[in-house]
């Protein structure tokens, strides 16, 4: 161990300073115990970053451990920059989702853009070339001008970044609900493709190997993220206040090409993105994984601004930077590759045998921690968990007794209202701003159930989708957790893909509140049940806690990113009705459940009742039956029933694809044990609308696999309406009206918005 002395000019460590760094008294004592002395200011900064919720998962780790993570084809589970699964033919898919909620609340454009940049880097540092981006967004009500400002800024940020790098953005979801009013959720997912042999892990190895900083220079961006507020520091200098990170997709594109070239070259042993807590967390994590020591000299780090302190260099979150462990003696080759892409690489440290994490400023040691304890000694917590009685009461409320509104006499009115609810309405306004066809692999882009990308050189394709329904999780976290996974699987299966594995982003409130931690624990338990039943292990993810605003926590929102595999390109199936005269079937069981539905929320403003049941065994059977039917070549289209229930699903099959509109005639009069509205708008799980020219075969497959299946109507390609007969009534909707409701809502609302809305009510800056 070396002698560590306080650096002249650094503030003295007071209990106030410790508190500002987010450490509890116990955590600070733990730190002193680990060091055997008081920390320096630099050390305090390092620990506050690494022990932050964001980096340490101190509240979530024990719960996450309960998720299933293995399958024969999982090459890399949680613990790396991204998960990796094998898809055969020597190929593998790397994928991961991450949140950028708080940065996006402060600056939607840059927040979303840098979120995309970060998740891209997580995937290409595994050795995979990114082939698709997805995003999952939650905003408050679109009636609010600030929400429209956030929405348009986030969409533009996602689009501009991904478009410039040249990765197609192919799928996602957007939900509008006042529960997210001051705390939008911005989750971005990236999927990459690689040869199995190119898989590289972020594990520092080889004593004497140089550590290099690669890519953009380091500035004072985002030091301590958005959480840092210190009177002492900000009074000292405005320049030290946390700063928004600005994305540079052009540099990212160069970094992507250079990194893939580096990985192929064999000149490096490990590479990791400098993401949250920048140089500090990337270097400490790489050392911990490799069980080696490292030493870093901050004066060698290329900076953008002069006079940066070790504290600032270590904690900067400047974007588009990588940390690389090169092979000793290959430094020049590494530099040459970066030079080719107009980027620089600097040796900033070395892998050492002594098990320490050491930071120097020239000769002076400014921080030193024993072994890998910096990472492993982080405290973990298991807070109290208790369901809020108010939510139990909401769940117990009987949704079926909510009185009908007068207009509902004509279900066509209700259907139009639902189709024009921003959460259900077409999101083309957003995804038209995303290049979804670059790289020429996109067989099905945004607009259907899941996106499908062909895998060049094979007869295979992969299907990808994100899903999550916060309202269900709010009403019943266990069931909601199950549904999130099951729905993602169903979406992927509708395209003809076998669900393979998931990544997940857990967006919750403050975990130290028992009712929030209860939601977290239960939702993860529900996800685990579904993952086990469906055979889709978790290969990674991200946890975003403290999503709260003065009006309370957001809906607990686990977002599932699912990857599925299509073995044969001929199995690729679309959501919209394809052929005149096809029979329409409902695969799965009609349940007539209205609890937690979009119908209750949109038409009645009620969030009550138990969310629909989700029997994960039945979900598996439905998916298997669907895939069997698709592989038998008897399915023309498949679309799952979700928000808005069967009626919305049918309408989407008719008018969802503007190039392929069809009418349909449906008879649901057999379901007389349910009310008309429950049949139309109930959101029972495990249901898929299938169209087929060989309905007998579909029925036979379903019966063999023990899945309810019923013929419910016919596709009339040239009819101009959707007609539905119900047990006690009927409805007829002209396609033009359905289409108008579905396609025009969001463009019309957004056209009323100035390009930037007022900035005067900036959202409060919550934790990172």
């Amino acid at each position: 161990m070396s002698e560590v002395t306080p650096r002249p000019g650094d503030p003295t460590i007071t209990s106030a300073l410790v508190a500002e760094h987010g450490l509890t008294k116990e955590e600070y004592e733990r730190l002193i115990g680990m060091l055997g002395r008081a920390p320096t200011f630099t050390e305090l900064g390092i620990v506050s970053a690494l022990w932050s919720e964001h980096c340490s998962y101190k509240h979530s780790r024990p719960v996450l451990k309960t998720l299933p993570t293995t399958a024969s084809y999982v090459l890399q589970g949680p613990g790396e920059n991204a998960g990796v699964i094998s898809i055969g033919d020597g190929l593998a898919v790397a994928f991961k989702i991450e949140s950028h909620n708080h940065p996006s609340a402060v600056e939607p454009y840059q927040g979303a853009a840098t979120g995309v940049g970060g998740i891209l880097r997580d995937v290409f540092t595994m050795g995979a070339r990114p082939i698709a981006m997805l995003n999952s967004l939650r905003f408050g009500s679109l009636d609010d001008s600030r929400v429209r400002y956030l929405f348009s800024g986030v969409v533009k940020g996602i689009g501009d970044y991904g478009n410039c790098v040249g990765i197609p953005t192919v799928a996602g979801e957007i939900v509008f609900d006042s529960a997210y009013e001051n705390n939008p959720l911005v989750n971005a997912m990236c999927v990459g493709l690689m040869h199995e042999e190119d898989l590289i892990r972020a594990k520092a190895e080889g004593v004497g190997n140089p550590i290099m900083a690669v890519g953009a220079r380091t500035g004072r961006d985002g030091i301590h993220g958005a959480s840092f507020a210190s009177e002492d520091l900000s009074a000292a200098s405005d320049a030290k206040r946390p700063r928004i990170q600005v994305g540079d997709p052009f540099t990212e594109k160069l970094l992507l090409e250079a990194s893939l070239e580096l990985i192929k070259s064999g000149h490096i042993v490990a590479i990791q993105d400098m993401g949250a807590a920048g140089l500090t967390s990337s270097s400490a994590e790489m050392a911990e994984r490799g069980d080696v020591g490292v030493t870093i000299d901050v004066t060698k780090v290329p900076t953008r601004e002069s006079g940066m302190t070790p504290y600032e260099v270590l904690l900067s979150e400047s974007q588009e930077r990588m940390l690389v462990v090169a092979r000793k003696g290959h430094e020049e080759e590494v530099r040459a590759i970066l030079r080719k892409w107009d980027l620089t690489a600097a040796v900033i440290g070395e892998v050492i045998a002594e098990l320490v994490y050491r930071v120097t400023e020239g000769e002076r040691v400014v921080a030193e921690f024993p072994g890998s304890r910096l990472v492993t000694d982080c405290p973990t917590y298991s807070p109290d968990a208790r369901e809020a009685p108010a939510i139990r009461d909401l769940r117990a409320a009987d949704a079926s007794v909510v009185p009908e509104r007068a207009e509902e006499k004509d279900p066509a009115w209700t259907l139009e209202q639902l189709l024009s609810a921003p959460t259900i309405a077409s999101k083309a306004w957003a995804y038209r701003q995303y290049d979804s066809t670059v790289r020429t692999n996109t067989v099905m882009g945004p607009g259907g159930d899941a996106a499908v990308l062909r895998v060049r050189g094979t007869n295979k394709a992969i299907a990808v989708k994100t899903d999550g329904n916060g309202r269900y999780v709010y009403l019943d976290p266990r069931v909601g957790g199950r549904i999130a996974v099951a729905e993602a699987a169903r979406n992927v299966a509708c395209t003809g893909a076998r669900p393979m594995a998931i990544t997940n982003c857990l967006n919750f409130g403050n975990p130290t509140r028992p009712e929030v931690f209860y939601q977290f624990r239960e939702a993860v338990a529900g996800m685990a049940e579904a993952c086990r039943a469906l055979g889709t292990p978790v290969t990674g993810g991200n946890v975003s806690l403290y999503n709260e605003s003065p009006s309370g926590a957001v809906y607990p929102t686990p977002v599932i990113g699912m990857v599925g595999l299509i073995d044969d390109l001929s199995h690729i199936t679309r959501a919209s009705f394809q052929r005149d005269g096809d029979t329409i079937l409902l695969l799965g069981e009609m349940g007539g459940e209205l609890g937690g539905s979009e119908y209750l929320a949109t038409i009645h403003g009620e969030v009550i009742g138990a969310p629909p049941r989700c029997d994960v065994g039945r979900e598996k059977a439905v998916i298997d039956a669907l895939l069997e039917a698709i592989r038998s070549g008897v399915v023309s289209s498949a679309h799952d029933c979700s928000d808005g229930g069967l009626a919305v699903a049918l309408a989407e099959c008719c008018i969802g694809d503007r190039d392929c509109e069809s009418g349909a005639e449906i008879d649901l009069s057999n379901y007389s044990s349910f009310s008309d509205r429950a049949i139309l708008f109930g959101e029972s799980q495990g249901r898929i609308v299938v169209s087929s020219s060989a309905p007998k075969r579909v029925l036979e497959i379903a019966q063999r696999m023990g899945v309810p299946c019923a013929q419910i109507g016919l596709v009339h390609r040239h009819s101009e309406s959707l007609e539905i007969t119900l047990p006690t009534g009927s409805m007829r909707s002209p396609l033009s009206r359905l289409s108008q409701a579905y396609h025009s809502t969001i463009p019309t609302v957004m056209a009323r918005t100035p390009e930037h809305a007022t900035f005067d009510e900036l959202a409060p800056v919550a934790a990172h």
Binding site: E107, G219, I244, V246, D248, T251, R304, Q319, P754, H756
Partner: protein
Amino acid sequence: MARFRIAVHITPRKGLLDPQGNAVKDALHTLGFKAVRNVHVGRYIVLETEAYDAIAAEETVTDMCRKLLANPVTEDFEIESAVPA
């Protein structure tokens, strides 16, 4: 009421990464303008507005900058004197 013209300069806030400025600087170097040290790229907005006098016009434009023209998180703005249009 009279009509005034006011020019506004909006620049990326100091210390924030300015990818546009960097790209232009690099390009100028490549073109042989090696003496260039720094480049920042911002926006230039010229407004014509009716107001009682120049002072009122400038106040209104300041308000516009706060509310719409400049992003308070990432940009600084500067307003030139109003001139009769």
